[in-house]
């Protein structure tokens, strides 16, 4: 399902905004719902009823006594390790947030005002992000969930940026983000990349919350809810 959404979103060149956030939420929540369906994990279901049975792929031999299942377990272990590392480095429920590095030049009153606004927006967003973070933790073995939550957290930051600049000049926040970008050490490549992308979205006019009609998103959700149980 992640593959379908990934190809689709890239084909549509879906911009940041509410639609993208909804799709990422689907990607995080639906696998948990379908995994809870009783009997879906039985051999008979996989062999006789399912549309796609991953057990067949997992049984493919690789080298020596290793099978594809061993490779998948290794990827899952790596995903869990990344989760543990992220918690150790950034703290579990840190996002969204504005990480202000040491050595940031002083901010003007306008800039301080927009920073305060963005912190308020973060506070409003936090409950939703924490809920999804817990869902992502439950699936910490799943690299797709890791990727989906990372993108969701970015989208939440973009959404907070948009709320913070309402009634203000977006250039002011862009300037603040660029200052943080310049003060962020080069070794923090992902952090710098996120800041740069946020500036890009801001300067492009902010997120597009109506990139796709709600009907389309609902139809996609229903389709995935109906199809996902048959893929084991």
């Amino acid at each position: 399902m992640g593959l379908i959404l990934y190809i689709w979103v890239h084909r549509l060149r879906l911009p940041s905004g509410r639609t993208k956030r909804y799709l990422l939420v689907l990607l995080l929540v639906l696998p948990l719902l379908t995994a809870a369906i009783p009997g879906r994990g039985s051999i008979e279901f996989g062999e006789s009823i399912a549309w796609f049975n991953s057990a067949r792929l997992l049984a493919i031999p690789l080298i020596g006594r290793l099978h594809m299942a061993n490779l998948v377990v290794a990827i899952a272990a790596l995903s869990v390790a990344v989760t543990v590392w992220q918690i150790a480095r950034y703290g579990g429920f840190g996002r969204p947030r504005l990480m202000v590095p040491d050595g940031l030049p002083p901010l003007s009153p306008d800039e301080s005002d927009v920073v305060a606004a963005i912190q308020r927006a973060y506070a409003q967003e936090r409950v939703k992000v924490i809920a999804l973070y817990l869902i992502r933790l439950v699936q910490s073995y799943n690299p797709v969930a890791l990727w989906a939550f990372r993108d969701y957290a970015f989208e939440a930051e973009v959404s907070c940026d948009a709320r913070a600049v309402v009634g203000r000049d977006p250039q002011v926040l862009a300037r603040v983000l660029l200052k943080i970008y310049q003060a962020t050490p080069h070794r923090d490549g992902p952090g710098r990349n996120r800041l740069r992308r946020r500036v890009d979205v801001l300067l492009a006019g902010g997120p597009d919350d109506a990139a796709l009609p709600t009907t389309t998103v609902v139809a996609v959700a229903i389709f995935m809810l109906m199809v996902l149980p048959w893929i084991v």
Partner: protein, 161 residues
């Protein structure tokens, strides 16, 4: 159309991905036969339903000469869900093969109905008796080297475990 903008491309991508997944799921066991789940050993008759989705049908009558517990319980999922249960003690043995649906199992040309056992096909190979019966949507093949009287009692006492 504007209300469902983007849905067509989603549908096309979803169908393409699902077709590829289905083809992979079907062709992998053909290319790599070891990926076919089965035969799978099951520890107890109580666990059979969880492993294959139906309850075993076994003879309630089992002479002491066969031992108290099956020596082997296997499930196979393809081409048809099948359960194979075997008892053995010394030279005496009994094997029950229970298959859900599908065509009737092959029997030699000389096979005949076993007297007083409805819907049965019976033949012998040396000292070994074979009996095929149909019960509640299952084909059940009984193979044993015990006397024909025991064979008949096996068939008469077939019941859900």
């Amino acid at each position: 159309m504007d209300r469902v903008r983007g849905l067509l491309s989603f549908g096309l991508i979803a169908v393409a991905v699902l077709v590829v997944l289905r083809l992979v799921s079907l062709t992998v066991p053909m290319v790599v036969p070891g990926t076919q789940p089965g035969p799978i050993a099951v520890a107890r008759l109580d666990d059979v339903r969880d492993r294959i989705g139906f309850a075993p049908i076994v003879p309630a009558y089992r002479p002491a000469t066969l031992g108290s517990k099956p020596v082997s319980i296997l499930v196979v999922h393809n081409p048809s869900p099948t359960l194979i249960v075997a008892w053995r003690e010394g030279d005496a043995y009994l094997s029950i093969t229970q298959r859900r649906g599908g065509p009737k199992p092959d029997a030699p040309a000389g096979a005949v109905p076993l007297p007083d056992v409805p819907e049965s096909t019976w033949w012998t190979t040396g000292a070994e008796h074979h009996l095929i019966v149909s019960r509640v949507g299952f084909w059940i093949e009984i193979t044993t080297n015990l006397p024909v009287n025991d064979l008949k009692r096996f068939a008469d006492t077939l019941a859900l475990y």
